[in-house]
């Protein structure tokens, strides 16, 4: 595509066979994982909002593969793929969707709030635009501590209208922070098309007024995304200044599971589906002789089996015990020994540090509902929103 500083994919050609296969494998895992997540949502195994990135796998894998292990990645509420691409255990990602104790976040965050410190996946965030300042903060810490990590901050086209966008671009440029901002332009902010929410639709230019140069990649092409992101990361590392990369892609599914998609035509979706990043890249590899059709199918089966195992694991994982309700709000220690008298649900001052010791029956709110047994009100509402 135009205005690209990096070497175009078609010239760059394909990566080494093993690398190429691993990329395809990663995209397949994400695709199959999300398809199953959708099914589990329909079965009410998964609650809340579920935002799938199906169609955006090349953007996710191409950009994360350009990172080194020590680099930080931060994303949004649409980040199953990002945490999987970073290497998180699919079992624990699925368990988080199921809201179970073995989930990445012990079932506290759910689909919108994934986090895996070991993999330096610094989280999915539910507040649109809220993750940009955090990313600049990671980069500030790296710079301050003299570490050479770079932060990759992924957010959506709609998020580029949030106040934090301008504020963060200016600060990152002013302080020359090592961060690559990647705006995943999937053409819509929820039901609002790009041209209806952003005066400038050429998103790679949106940071220029704040001194952040732009690049663009074809977010449906994993190789191009990899190349452009790699170049952006190199510039950031060497020039010590932020870069904004626009990844042009498309969301094949609805914004969330409850989306009638009245804001776009079936034709438009079909047009983009012709460019399905998994099909396109898979075909490329087969044509290039890097991959045999049978091998390709075997890889896909492997992905499906991995996801089956993840579902089984998640289903077997227990719900958090009500005793865990108050865990991890505060770091307890000499300074804060407990948040006693910071909760008056009970007629006597509630003492956090004691709660874990209580057995469920004593828990004020536990009386009504056993673990996982869903009470009516929530269900009514749930049904109503679905």
């Amino acid at each position: 595509m135009a205005e690209r500083v990096a070497q175009p994919a078609e010239q760059a050609g394909l990566p080494e066979p093993d690398v190429a296969r691993e990329w395809l494998q990663a995209m397949m895992l994400i695709r199959r994982f999300e398809e199953r997540a959708g099914e589990m949502y329909a079965k009410a195994k998964v609650g809340g909002f579920l935002h799938l990135a199906i169609g955006e796998e090349a953007t996710i894998v191409g950009s994360t593969r350009a990172l080194r292990d020590q680099d930080y990645l931060i994303s949004t509420y649409r980040s199953h793929g990002h945490t999987l691409a970073r290497g998180s255990d699919p079992d624990r990602v699925m368990a988080e969707l199921f809201g179970r104790v073995d989930g990445l976040c012990k079932g506290r965050g759910g689909s919108m709030h994934m986090f895996d410190l070991d993999k330096r996946f610094m989280g999915g965030y539910g507040i649109v635009g809220g993750n940009l300042p955090l990313a600049a903060g990671f980069a500030l810490a790296s710079d301050y501590l003299g570490h050479d990590e770079v932060t990759l901050c992924q957010f959506g086209d709609g998020a580029s209208n949030q106040g934090t966008f301008g504020e963060t671009m200016n600060l990152a440029a002013l302080w020359r922070l090592p961060v690559v901002f990647m705006v995943t332009n999937n053409q819509f902010g929820m039901g609002t098309a790009l041209e209806r929410h952003s005066a400038v639709t050429d998103l790679m230019r949106k940071g220029e007024g704040f001194g952040v140069p732009g690049m663009r990649c074809d977010g449906m092409d994993v190789v191009d995304t990899y190349n452009v992101t790699s170049e952006a990361l190199r510039r950031v590392r060497e020039e010590r200044r932020p870069v904004l990369v626009e990844a042009v892609t498309y969301r094949f599914r609805g914004h969330s599971m409850a989306d009638p998609e009245e804001y776009r035509t079936k034709e438009q979706v079909d047009e983009w589906r012709k460019r399905d990043p998994l099909a396109v890249f898979g075909d490329q590899l087969v044509e290039a002789g890097v991959l045999g059709e049978d091998e390709r199918e075997a890889m896909d089966r492997e992905a499906i089996e991995r996801v089956d195992a993840a579902v089984a694991f998640a289903d077997a994982s227990p719900h958090p015990s009500p005793n865990a309700l108050y865990d991890d709000i505060y770091v307890l220690g000499d300074q804060v020994r407990g948040w006693y008298s910071v909760d008056e649900r009970t007629p006597t001052p509630h003492r956090g540090e004691d709660e874990s010791a209580m057995n469920r029956a004593d828990l004020p709110h536990a009386a009504e509902h056993g673990g996982g047994v869903a009470p009516k009100p929530a269900d009514d509402a749930q049904r109503d929103e679905d």
């Binding site: 539910g126 929410h197 709000i329 007629p347 509902h369 929530a378 929103e385």
Partner: protein, 328 residues
């Protein structure tokens, strides 16, 4: 009619009644609203009066303030109250302050609508109940409708009022049905509480969805414990109809306040302080508060369910005012 439909009707009627009423918000038009409250209004009134906005909460609200100062009656929808923190400066330092600060030269007739509430497993960034943050602020009016009829009547009053109104809806209530007078001029005045159930033994004040939880608990209390609870829904927290609550407490001598939000500095704290100030000698027992847990709302269903009040906690609190408890 569902609560959501009642709100939709209120918007339609007021837009028909007054040309200067217009709507702004994220995905309220083409998408018909995240919770479908504005469904059909874009088609009916066009994109001049029903405006999809970019994701820019602070500026959307601020534009509403500016437009309200210069002749319009904007109704701004924030997708949920959780995102309203981004607009808090415009709501508090501008909308609520401008008329007073400028010596009464202008008014700010606008409404900021937003839903709140837990129960849908939306997790720690999408599930909070923050009416307490707004009732703290002079210059604002704050409504928390519980029934479909109040949703409609209060929203119509809010739109017609010349003051900035923070109008707090509830995601669970959107799907609930209720009788709604289909009179185009059915309005509900701010500052008048509703007595949902008469009773002589204990006063139970319930905010928003919790007024329903309180009513259910009252039924059980009557059937299983022979306790007749008077259930009061304040309907608006600013102005607050304290007199109705005081009258009830002077009759029952006991008071329990039920809210979904956090305990510290919540609505219950405010009401408990007011009631003990005004009806100290009438109280036979400490005022009990039943609130959400003092935690960010977790995603896990069982954790979420124990993190906001249900009937048992209300019954428990009521019994406590009689010196009894169901649990050791």
């Amino acid at each position: 009619m569902r609560y959501r439909e009642a709100l939709n009707a209120a918007l339609r009627e007021e837009m028909t009644r007054d040309e200067t009423v217009m709507l702004m918000g994220e995905d309220i038009g083409v998408f018909n609203g995240a919770f479908k409250v504005t469904a059909g209004l874009l088609d009916e009134f066009g994109d001049k009066r029903v405006r999809d906005t970019p994701i820019s909460e602070n500026t959307i609200v601020g534009m509403g303030v500016g437009a309200a100062m210069t002749g319009l009656r904007p109704v701004v929808e924030l997708m949920t109250i959780n995102f309203s923190l981004l607009a808090m400066d415009q709501i508090v330092n501008h909308a609520a302050t401008i008329r007073y600060m400028f010596g009464g030269q202008v008014k700010v007739p606008m409404v900021v609508r937003m839903p709140q509430g837990a129960g849908h497993q939306l997790g720690p960034t999408h599930s909070h109940s923050w009416e307490a943050l707004y009732l703290h602020v002079p210059g604002l009016l704050v409504a928390t409708p519980t029934t479909a009829a109040d949703a409609k009547g209060l929203l119509k009053s809010a739109i017609r009022d010349d003051n900035p109104v923070v109008f707090i809806e509830h995601e669970y209530l959107y799907g609930q049905r209720g009788e709604v007078p289909d009179d185009d001029d059915h309005t509900v005045r701010f500052g008048v509480a509703a007595i949902r159930r008469e009773g002589s033994d204990v006063t139970v004040v319930g905010i928003s969805r919790m007024a329903l939880t309180a009513a259910r608990a009252a039924k059980t209390l009557s059937e299983e414990h022979g306790i007749e609870a008077e259930v009061i829904d304040p309907r608006t927290l600013r102005p607050l109809d304290l007199d109705t609550i005081l009258e009830s407490v002077r009759k029952t001598n006991r008071c329990v306040i039920v809210e979904e939000g956090w305990p510290h500095g919540g609505v219950g704290a405010n009401l408990a302080a007011l009631v003990q100030e005004q009806a100290f000698d009438d109280l036979d027992a400490p005022i009990q508060r039943v609130t959400g847990a003092d935690v960010p709302m977790p995603y896990s269903k069982p954790l979420e369910q124990i993190a906001f009040p249900h009937e048992p906690q209300v019954i428990d609190a009521v019994l406590a005012t009689f010196g009894e408890r169901t649990r050791p």
